[in-house]
Subunit: 192 residues, 3 copies
């Protein structure tokens, strides 16, 4: 385990073996970070956040209270989470939770609006704003984020190989990986 | 008043009672911050910026010279302001001002392009890019930001209750708050 | 040359005369930064990055390994680069390079997806996500970024002055600067 001298780690934090916490990062009390993670420059991990194993979080990401991140997740630079649907400087706040499932990737500068679940191995493109649940392996792009296709486990965009009555078979040409998806998940481009 | 030891506050800064300035924040000379504010991790407050009372500024926000922020404003994490319409690394710069009025909220990762006024209690959605003035209570989303409706004082989206000849009555179902708005402010979806 | 005491500059870094490196910035080994540059608050310059002369990089920008920035480039606050097309927390990574040519400007909170070349004096608008090469002097906006016109050397949007059979003449009304551009570069609005 390595914590850079400029990083701030509060009391009662659990950090797994081989995890590195870099310059000017801040991990708040009661957070739990698994083993073999990388917590990049300036990253903010709020109170009580749970982060799995082998998670890579790039520069300046903010992970707020109420967010749970499973194993093998990638979070690109400058991405942020939120935990308040109707943010105001005044009045009572209602904390809304967010879940990022195993193996998902969240692109640079994207925003994950609270209340969603991002499925296993989903891929959120750079600059996207996620406002709805994301199915496993789905590729989400844009503002607001829309499903634009599916990716393989290694993150490559897959192409449509065959259409059945109510499902579509996607295939990664590089990995030979295949995925069967119910029809109607990817919205038609014209309707967006 | 509390200033974290890692924060940097330059000379001739005014900071009100009960305001907290957090880790690695930087407040430049001649800035004025009111009372009961929260200035989050890494936030940058430029020379001469005016910030009202009870303002909450989340992690990594940059508030540049020429920006004025009134009371009770919320600014979400990673949002940024600008102060130059045609930024270049060379030549003369012309500073352009921006005003955020009382009670407005600015979403996570949004960008406020200089020269605009954001009206009282307006709500800028996460990831939006604001390039035009925003009327009071308006909800602005997208890149570029467009008015998509109106919110109540507490920030909930309102629904259309009644349409009159030249005005529309909006109503918050949770707060019973009502708002009368001239027709034509919310652009038709098809024209965007 | 000035390096703020809170900035971190690793070994074997070359920094030109009159360059200023501000609070909490981090410049990694083997990076090379030219003369008369400004490296803003919190900026991250990765290993081996090459930055030209008179470059201005605003707060919290991340410039990753594989990125080259030529002279006179402006990079707005919170912009980020990437260097991985299919980011995952696991598996082998393939570094993809990016080039920003002389005089270009990159707007606040924009994202430059790796693998692109941004042409001389191009202007990337605030919040844009660049996923394709950008021609010289082009103005790119939106998510994903699209060419919306052209700017003059000082950054002002130009207007169409004359259309020829296969080229369009743009002109800046403020600077009298003219630019001849092949037809078909700016996509029709309806098709976007």
């Amino acid at each position: 385990m390595f914590i850079h001298p400029t990083a701030i780690v509060e009391e009662n934090v659990e950090i797994g073996e081989n995890t590195r916490i870099w310059h000017f990062a801040h991990v708040r009390r009661n957070a739990k970070i698994g083993y073999s993670c990388v917590i990049g420059k300036g990253v903010y991990v709020d109170e009580g956040v749970r982060i799995g194993n082998r998670v890579k979080i790039q520069n300046f990401v903010s992970v707020y209270k109420g967010v749970t991140i499973e194993d093998d997740v990638f979070i690109g630079p400058h991405a942020t989470f939120t935990n308040d649907k109707y943010p105001r400087a005044f009045g009572d706040r209602e904390l809304v939770e967010t879940l990022v499932k195993r193996g998902a990737s969240i692109g640079a500068n994207s925003t994950i609006v609270c209340g969603v679940t991002i499925g296993e191995y989903a891929m959120i493109a750079a600059g996207a704003v996620v406002t709805k649940d994301v199915p496993p392996f789905a590729l989400v792009m844009g503002v607001p984020g829309k499903i634009r296709g599916f990716v393989c486990k290694r993150g490559h965009p897959m192409s449509v190989k065959e259409e059945f009555e109510d499902r579509i078979l996607y295939r990664c040409e590089r990995c030979d990986e295949e995925l069967l998806v119910p029809k109607g998940i990817v919205p038609k481009r014209e309707n967006n």
